[in-house]
């Protein structure tokens, strides 16, 4: 498919809101199959970075290169290869899960959208409730629908902002398994999370962020929680 790429390179990226610096000098590359974790306290710049990667924000400095193209050059073709699950769910509560998925599937130009929606509802464990309005779902059920919406068009780059929020243990395990499946398919996943124990062992690369800057120097071994503490709260 046009717009496809096998790596995302973030080069000296910065973003300011007026005089406030949200991100400064962020550089990293994520290749096909990578699962990159963005870790840091609230306000560290994780969501801003995800929004820039999702082409929703323009960086103030630096650039993001998707394969060979930037967001400005890639346009709709590039966006067709990006899936995003935001902190809010990007779903219409008045519509049913099936209507939400069908609407976004058509917007993305997904072929055979009705069949894909049936499969997505099965994966979310919501086959029997697909025609209920989303407002009647629990937070965890909505989160599962939102994940299926983000994956419906088979993105190359998957951006997840706090994807484990509201999920019970079984749903969390299912999401981790799903991310491993997508990893095997070559999807580049970049996720921001505070659930360190859940993603420990899942991430292929970790970016620690503090006040918009990347923090380096954490030990390569030890649990993720220990490395987080060492990087962001050194003694």
């Amino acid at each position: 498919m046009s717009g496809d790429f096998d790596a995302v390179a973030v080069v000296a990226l910065g973003r300011h809101y007026g005089r406030r610096r949200a991100l400064a000098d962020i550089t990293f590359t994520a290749r096909s199959g990578a699962i990159v974790g963005l870790l840091g306290a609230n306000g560290a710049g994780k969501s801003t970075l995800l929004a820039i990667l999702g082409t929703l924000l323009v960086p103030s400095t630096g650039r993001v290169v998707y394969g060979e193209v930037t967001a400005a050059d890639g346009g709709p073709d590039l966006r067709s290869r990006i899936g995003m699950l935001g902190h809010d769910l990007f779903l219409y509560p008045e519509l049913t899960a099936r209507e939400n998925l069908t609407f976004f599937g058509r917007l993305y130009g997904v072929a055979d959208v009705d069949r894909r929606v049936v499969v997505a509802l099965e994966r979310a464990g919501l086959t029997g409730r697909g025609d209920d309005p989303l407002s009647s779902y629990s937070r965890g059920m909505r989160q599962r629908v939102a994940l299926e919406r983000a994956l419906l068009h088979g993105p190359r780059l998957l951006l997840l902002d706090e994807p484990f929020t509201g999920l019970d243990q079984a749903s969390t395990a299912a999401l981790v398994a799903r991310l491993r499946d997508e990893q095997a398919r070559g999807v580049i996943t970049i996720l921001a999370t505070h659930d360190l124990d859940v993603v420990d062992g899942l991430l292929s690369e970790v970016l620690f962020l503090r006040a918009g800057r990347r923090v380096t120097g954490a030990a390569a071994d030890g649990s993720l929680r220990e490395r987080y503490r060492e990087a962001l709260h050194p003694a």
Partner: protein, 227 residues
């Protein structure tokens, strides 16, 4: 169907489905518009006789106020689950998303006008059936100009903290020319002897504003929404 029209139609269909389910925007907008007209009727109708020449202004004031309410509520719905961002993420022409939202607003405002115009006719003894096609054309052109600017500003302000204050502050000064043309054109039709030539002049002016506003909005929607 071209990609632009397909995306715009999808957005309109989604917006109308959501509205049919919730009936939230139409009911509040309609209630507000009727209330405005009834309050004006208490002030400007004395013993069944309305003050001369106020009907056109009251009609357009009610449209502007209720239209602002509809714009605010429609985009508040997109803000609540951040769905406007989901639309912006889609591989669709972003101006097509704007066009879809604009048409959705126009449909809602047309439904409000379908109630409002007879109500103004009834309460202010306005001759709404003397030149109904010219009146419909003036309303359609004026509504398009107002909604074209309003949809752009409401989308821009979705993430602003003071959006409810900023929307009218930005929208009304920009749409003053539309309102003036709408009021003057409608007043020309509501005279005892309808002045069709004058109404045509104001309609032509409204169509000029429409062309300018819609073109500018389609052109600026993507850069304004991305940064």
């Amino acid at each position: 169907m071209s990609g632009f029209l397909r995306v715009a139609a999808l957005v309109v269909g989604k917006d109308l489905t959501v509205e049919v389910r919730s009936f939230e925007v139409l009911s509040t907008t309609l209630f507000f518009a009727i209330t405005v007209v009834v309050i004006f009727a208490f002030g400007f109708v004395n013993e069944g006789v309305p003050v001369e020449g106020v009907a056109a202004a009251i009609l357009w004031i009610a449209l502007a106020f209720s239209g602002t309410l509809a714009l605010g509520r429609t985009f508040e719905r997109e803000r609540q689950a951040d769905t406007l961002r989901a639309l912006m993420l889609a591989p669709a022409d972003r101006p097509a998303l704007y066009a879809g939202k604009l048409v959705g607003i126009l449909v809602l405002m047309a439904l409000v006008e379908a109630v409002l115009v007879p109500l103004v006719g009834l309460m202010f003894q306005a001759p709404i059936f003397v030149a109904p096609l010219w009146l419909a054309a003036l309303l359609a052109a004026g509504t398009l100009g107002f909604a074209a600017v309003g949809t752009l500003f409401a989308a821009m302000l979705v993430r602003a903290r003071s959006r409810d204050v900023l929307l009218p502050v930005l929208l009304y000064p920009m749409t003053v020319p539309v309102m003036i043309a709408g009021v003057r054109g409608t007043a020309a039709l509501f005279q005892p002897e309808a002045d069709i030539a004058m109404a045509q002049f104001w309609l032509a002016l409204l169509m000029f504003f429409d062309a300018v506003f819609v073109t500018l909005a389609l052109w600026t929607f993507e850069p304004l929404m991305t940064d």
